[in-house]
Structure formats: C-alpha cells, structure tokens
C-alpha cells in the first residue's frame, strides 16, 4: 500500500463524478435555472428534470462542507442562533452555511431556491428543516407524504396515496414554478435511463461477493452511489458513469485485486463486514484508514441504500408505470422500512456476502437511523451466528468523533472475530 503522504489515488470514474458534481453546482449557482432544494432519500430527480428544475441537496452540501472541514464552524454558528446541541448536524451545518453567506462548494453563492420539495418523511427532522427554510425563503413548499412501511409491505393504498399527491400537488406546483407543462413521455424516457444505470449499479453492489472484494461498499460505496442518489438519475451522464465504473470493477476482478482505498489497493483482505448506519464525514479518511489498515473491507452497507433500495426486492424505475414507480421508490427507502425488514436485509447481506459480522456506526444526532439499532444488532447476531459490534460517531459534527475510542472498539472487534475463528478459548487456571 502507498504511503499516506502521497496524493489520493482516484479512478477515472471518480474523476468523472467530480466533474459531474461540479457542473451541477455551476448550474445551480448560474441563475439560469429554477432550483429546487430536496432531500436524498426518495428524491424525485426525474420529475424535476421534466420541468428543467435544478436539484440542490442540502445533505450533500453538509457532507461537502464536512469533508472540507467547514461544517464545525457552521454548526457552531447555528448553535449560536439558537439550535440545540442535540439537533441533527446536517440541519445545523446547512443553517450555519446560510448564515455565513450561503456559499456553494464552487465558491459562488447559492441562489434562493424556487421551491422546496420534501419527497420523503421517514425522517421527521426533514419536515422541521424545511419549515425553517420556508421561513427563510418564503418559496412554495411541497411536502409529499410517504407512509411508513410499518408492516414491512407496500400496499396499493399507499402507492395510490402517493400517486394522488403527485398528480394533485407536486406536478401542478412544478408546472406553476417552471412554466413548463408536464409531459409524461418525457418522464418515461428519464425513467428508462434511470433503470439502465440502476442495472449497472446493482451489478456493482453484488461484486463484493467476490473474495477478495474488488470494492469497499461503504467508504468506496458512498462515491459509487453518488450519481444515482443525487441530480443524475435519469441522465445519460449517469449511464456513462456506471458503465465506466462497471468496466473498472470488472478489471479489478480480472486482476484479482483487493478493494481500492485512497492510498492504493488493499494488499490483503482479512475481515469482511456489513455496516449499518451512515459514515462519519468530518474524519472520513481517518475513519476509513482504521478499516483498511487492519485489512477490513465493507462488503455491504445499509447506507448505500439510503437514497433507495434496489437489490433487496429488485426495484427498478419503470417507464411503463411512471408515477407508480416514483411512489414505490419513495416507499422503498431504507429508513422507511420497519426494523424487521432492516434486520432481514442486513442478515441476508451477512450471509450472502459471507461477512464476518455486522458493525453498526450509530450516529449521535440521527434518530431515524439510530433508533432500534442495538436490537437490530442482537437480531442479526441471532440470525447469522456472527458477532456484531457497535461504534458511535456523528455525521458532520467534528466534536463527536473520538478517534481513540472508535479505534479501540474496532481493534477489539477485529480481534474478537479472530478469536471466534480460532474458537479455541482457553483452559482455566488456578489463580
């Protein structure tokens, strides 16, 4: 593996994605396009595209700021203006950014959004977040209510309820803002492109079944998920990106390479993990390094399903049932699933990807992810017979990443796996 002082090694697909993100920020800040702020989980990018509305995602902005070491100041700023220490740090990073000039990663100011589109309410903080933004921007706000899949199933009623909202609330508002008439055939075309990229995406997810895994499906995975969960689903760019990614991964498989890291390829794969929960963004590299230094690769993660779930029940956007398919996408979001479904997904991942166990990264300020995680861990342990472990960090608040503590737990977990593999234990002694 290369020395950590060397430049970060990036693949062609990563460079392409960087360009795509940069172009999207340029479009948002250009003043030439109408802009909607919306959230990642269950976002309606294809629908926005039908009205030429640019897609701006506040969580992604918070992540960008965290990785650029700016989120700490923004959070402090938000706390100074009255937001409690326990509030979601994505929210505070966003509010703080607005208070400090609202500058986009390309250095230009974000325009005021033309609309706020909340297409998923599994996280109730999202509601409050947009209430704050509505207060600030006084722009049209659409709250698309997505029923929680409490029984683990999506019913026709739920789907119809969302489709009705799309027809009666969401589409008319978008028409009004953009001045463009809704064209369902245009939507069908975008959804066709979405499905094409989604096929390659699912292929990518499943390649970590290989031993060694050619990719890391958590730390690397968050990059691979980027285009599909943000402003590019439904575009030709996304199709090109996933085709390129597929070729790169295939090449890695052919060469028998271990997962790629910022310091080059892992030389040995010692532990295979399934990870539940978002990563920490403020110390992302340091956090990742704790894994690859110990030879640990993440073969599946729930966070790579946070925007939408494709592999579990084989969902794809469907041009033949456009609005229904958008509804199903929203309903299927990972955190909109009940705990037994999440347990089933994770257990299946542990088994199918032949993982050594489940690691939970519990996020201090994210209740929608964190609630019930200890119970889930116990259940997955029972179902798989593999040991679980629990670490605690935060999304974008640098104060809540305690490196020594996290490392101590991770090392203990890896050694626990070693010990389990040897399954020897010891004789007792007189003491």
């Amino acid at each position: 593996m290369n020395n950590s002082n060397q430049e970060v090694i990036k693949s062609n697909s990563q460079l392409l994605q960087k360009e795509m993100i940069s172009r999207n920020y340029d479009r948002i800040t250009s003043g030439q396009a109408k802009v909607s702020s919306t959230f990642v989980p269950g976002n309606l990018n294809e629908l926005l595209m039908c009205f030429d509305i640019a897609n701006n995602l506040p969580e992604i902005n918070a992540i960008q700021n965290a990785m650029r070491k700016k989120s700490g100041d923004f959070i402090t700023e938000a706390e100074r203006s009255g937001h409690s220490e326990d509030v979601c740090t994505y929210v505070k990073a966003d509010i703080g950014m607005m208070e400090k000039g609202n500058i986009a990663p390309n250095g230009k100011p974000f325009p005021d959004p033309d609309m706020l589109l909340l297409s998923y309410t599994g996280c109730f903080t999202f509601l409050k977040w947009f209430e704050l933004l509505r207060e600030q921007y006084k722009c049209p706000t659409v709250m698309l209510h997505v029923p929680y899949a409490a029984d683990g199933k999506v019913t026709k009623n739920m789907r119809d309820y969302i489709v009705t909202q799309l027809k009666e609330e969401v589409i008319p508002t978008m028409e009004k803002i953009s001045g463009i008439k809704f064209d369902i055939d245009r939507l069908r075309e975008y959804l066709r492109k979405s499905a094409q990229a989604e096929n390659d995406l699912v292929w990518m997810l499943e390649q970590s079944k290989h031993k060694p895994s050619p990719i890391d499906c958590y730390f690397g995975g968050v990059y691979y998920m980027g285009p599909i969960f943000t402003a590019f689903r439904g575009t030709d760019e996304a199709i090109v990106y996933y085709k390129l990614l597929r070729e790169e991964i295939q090449q890695r498989i052919d060469l028998g390479l271990c997962a790629q890291t910022p310091e080059g390829d892992m030389t040995e794969e010692k532990y295979r993990l399934v990870v539940e929960g978002p990563p920490n963004w403020t110390s992302f590299r340091e956090f990742w390094k704790m894994f690859y230094e110990m030879g640990a690769v993440v073969v599946a993660s729930s966070y790579t399903k946070v925007g939408g779930v494709y592999d579990y029940d084989n969902f794809r956007h469907d041009p033949d049932h456009p609005l229904e398919s958008l509804a199903d996408y929203c309903l299927g979001v990972y955190t909109n699933r009940n705990l037994p479904t999440r347990v089933d997904m994770l257990s299946r991942n542990v088994k199918e990807y032949e993982a050594d166990g489940l690691l939970i990264n519990s996020i201090k300020s994210c209740n929608s992810f964190s609630a019930g995680q200890l119970v889930m861990m116990r259940e997955v342990e029972k179902l798989t017979g593999k040991p679980g472990a629990f670490i605690e960090t935060d999304l974008v608040d640098p104060r809540y990443f305690s490196a020594a503590n996290v490392k101590n737990r991770l090392e203990s977990y890896f050694q626990m796996i070693d010990q389990k593999r040897r399954a020897g234990g010891s004789a007792t002694v007189a003491v």
Partner: protein, 433 residues
C-alpha cells in the same frame, strides 16, 4: 523456564502477570503508569518476575517448619532492601542536581538539608516496613514522596531554605529514579540481603540458613525466559512490541475474568478512564461489548475528582459512604456537574456519607446502562478493575444487579486489578505454543 507474560498498561497503573507452561500464575507485578509506558511495562514485568521468584522459592521450601513465616519476613525485608536501594539512588540524584544553575548558589545548605532528610528516612525505613505496618501505597514514589514532603518542610524551615526549592530538587530527581528499572542482578542481591535479615529475625525455623540460601540461589539461578509477551490497555500502542503481540483490553478482560471465574458470562470493568460491559461465552471469548463513549463520568477518575473536591483520600471514599443511612439522589452524570451538585448538597447541610453513597449509586447506574446495552446479566457476573476494591461501589452494584436481574452470583476477586494482564498472559501462552 519458559514463561508467558501479559502486561496491562492502564491510565493509572500498569500490571503484569507471568505464567508458566501449565498456565499457572507464578507472579503478578504492579506499578504506577508514570508518563512513560515503556518504563512502566518494564517495571511491572520485573515485579512479576520478583513475585515469581517468591513462588518458586516457596515451592522449594515446601510447607511447615516455619516456611510461611520465613517467606512473609523475606518479602518484608526484600521490600525494605528495595526501598533503601532506591532511596540511595534518589539521594545521589538529588545531589547531582545541586550543580545545576538554579541551585548552585545554595548548594552547601541544600546538601546539608537533604542529608538530614535522607538520613531520617533511612532510620525510619525499618519502621515503614515493620511487621504489621500499614502502608497507603506500595509505590516508591508515594512512600518516599510523602516522607520527603513532611521532613523537607521542617528541615528547610530550620535551615532557612524555601520548601519549594527542596521540592523542586526532589521532583526533578524522582522522575529520573522512576525511569530506572532494577536489573536482575540488583534484584538477586536484594533478595539475598533480605534473606539474611529474615533469617536473623525469624525464630524457630526448621530450615538452616545455608539450606535456605542455597534454595534461594538455585531459584535465582533459574532463567525466566520471556517466551511470549502480550501487551494490552490504553498504553499498548506505545509498547515496543510487534503488532501481533498486542491485544485489545476488552478481549483480555473477558478472558481474564473467565480464567478467574469460569462460569462468568458478563464482566463489568471500571478502570481509570473507561467502563466496559463485556459478554463472554463458555470459553471466555468475547461475544459482545459496550463501553462509555466520549465521556468518562462514572469511571475511576470520577471518584478521584470527587475525593479531591471533598479533600479526602481516594481510598477513604468507600468507607465513608458505607456509613450512610440513605443515598442522596445525585442526578448529574457529568463529573464536573456532579462536583457542583455535591457542593450544593453540602451547602444544604446534607450528610457527607449520604452524599457519597448517592455518588457511588450514580456511578453504578451508569455502569448498569452499559451492562444492559451489552446484553444484560443472564448468568454469573464478575466485577473487575480498580473500582471493584471500593466497598460502597460494590454494595450499590449488588443492589442494582438484584433490582434489575434478580439473584445472581457476583464474583469479585482480590486480584481483580490483574484481570486484563491475566487475559494477556493467557493470550501470550496460546500464541507462544
């Protein structure tokens, strides 16, 4: 002989356990962690070897004929020898510092004062190590330091010297002394000197001086080969060991507790800066764990802070709390806030013992939360770490375990402070065979 050593580098103390080929513990050693883990590891290892020599000597002497008395007396005299030897080094080091720029103008009077102080401690030393004498600590730094402070104040006053200057000389010197590790030769000489003293003191022995000396020489001649050494604890990364010789303290505590009490399935370890709830299987393999996160309230240091706030010794906390008639409710789980709450309760006129009982309960409530998150208590339970020595903490724990999980066997070993090192030694044994 081949030996296997586990070293647990804690934030307060460093412990070592040495075991033989048959996994029998031959010796345990402990020292303060200083700010230098390398030295602390070496000192604790040497101490465990000394204890192993005692065990081997005991085996050589057999039982009866006054052997037990001789061993007790030998240990006492050996500690005296060790103390005098380190005191001598401390004195010499102090004199060397007198040539420094800061002290050289007062070199004469300072040397005279130091000589008086050290002569007095040398005279007092046999009393410090007299049979039945109680020592609040066995660490050289604590014993020599407390005597030095007491004497330097009065001696300095008489000589018209500032206490601070004398203290400064001591502070510089003790750091040097603490960086030294006794060689095997020095230890052997101290043991043989100790034996000579003991043979002169213990009456009615069946064993002759020559035989005892021969037996001890034979034990000292036996090489204790460090076949495999495993390091654990917070200072583990500082050890000059290869990576594969380092184990997480969670695994070591789990295995150590299992070795002490094989039916253990849940372990609570409260150390200086963390609290761990660990679940182990029938082989001592960790199956789950939880520990405090981001905040050290409820750990050993919390008690140290409270002791400082109340201006009493750490070891006095438990006994005072045991005199409580009720436990004052302490709500704060933050160390600093608990201090504020404590002052508030004192100002309200509440009984000191009751407040301390409440604080011990607050600590254990935190521990109970960690235990429950790790999977709760289903079978035998073992409490380890420095706080396990505190009777008030143990009392609250027993009560809370009963309230939450019913009647459960709760194990606390007198040697619980060595749990992590014991697990480490067992890992060393497995790795070295």
């Amino acid at each position: 002989m081949r030996t296997f050593i586990g070293i647990d580098l804690g934030s307060t103390t460093t412990k070592a356990v040495l075991m033989d080929e048959n996994r029998q513990v031959l010796g345990r050693g402990i020292t303060n962690s200083r700010s230098n883990y390398d030295v602390a590891a070496k000192v604790s290892k040497q101490e465990s070897k000394i204890a192993a020599r005692f065990t081997l000597f005991k085996n050589a002497l057999g039982s009866g004929g006054g052997a037990e008395l001789l061993l007790t007396d030998l240990e006492r005299n050996f500690r005296l020898e060790q103390f005098l030897s380190e005191l001598n080094q401390l004195e010499e080091t102090c004199y060397r510092y007198l040539d420094h720029e800061r002290f050289k103008d007062l070199k004469g009077p300072l040397r005279e004062a130091l000589e008086t102080v050290f002569r007095t401690i040398i005279v007092e030393a046999p009393t410090i190590y007299a049979p039945g004498a109680e020592r609040k600590s066995d660490f050289f730094r604590d014993i020599a330091g407390s005597r030095f402070m007491n004497l330097a104040e009065s001696v300095g006053k008489q000589a018209g010297l500032s206490f601070d200057v004398l203290l400064n000389v001591y502070d510089k010197s003790i750091i040097d002394i603490e960086s030294q590790v006794s060689s095997d030769e020095t230890v052997s000489a101290q043991l043989l000197n100790g034996l000579t003293r003991a043979m002169g003191e213990v009456a009615g022995l069946d064993i002759s001086k020559a035989d005892a000396q021969k037996a001890l020489e034979s034990v000292l001649g036996q090489e204790l080969e460090e076949t495999y050494v495993v390091g654990t604890g917070y200072g583990r990364v500082r050890l000059p060991f290869p990576k594969e010789h380092i184990r997480s303290e969670i695994l070591c505590h789990g295995l150590g507790a299992h070795m002490m009490f094989p039916q253990t399935r849940t372990v609570l370890d409260i150390g200086g800066q963390d609290t761990k709830g660990i679940q182990v299987d029938e082989n001592g393999i960790v199956v789950n764990f939880q520990m405090n996160d981001r905040c050290a309230a409820g750990c050993g240091r919390y008690l140290g802070y409270i002791a400082d706030e109340m201006n009493i010794g750490l070891h006095e906390l438990g006994p005072i709390a045991m005199k409580a008639t009720k436990a004052t409710r302490i709500n704060s789980t933050c160390t600093v806030f608990a201090g504020a709450e404590l002052r508030d309760r004192m100002a309200m006129g509440e009984n000191r013992a009751d407040i301390l009982a409440g604080l011990h309960r607050a600590i254990m409530l935190r521990a109970m939360s960690i235990i429950s998150r790790s999977g709760g208590v289903t079978e035998e339970f073992t409490f380890t770490g420095g706080v396990a020595k505190n009777e008030a903490a143990v009392k609250e724990l027993r009560q809370l375990i009963f309230e939450n999980y019913g009647e459960k066997t709760i194990n606390i070993s007198a040697e619980s402070i060595y749990t992590g090192a014991l697990g480490g030694a067992s890992f060393a044994h497995s790795a070295g065979n």
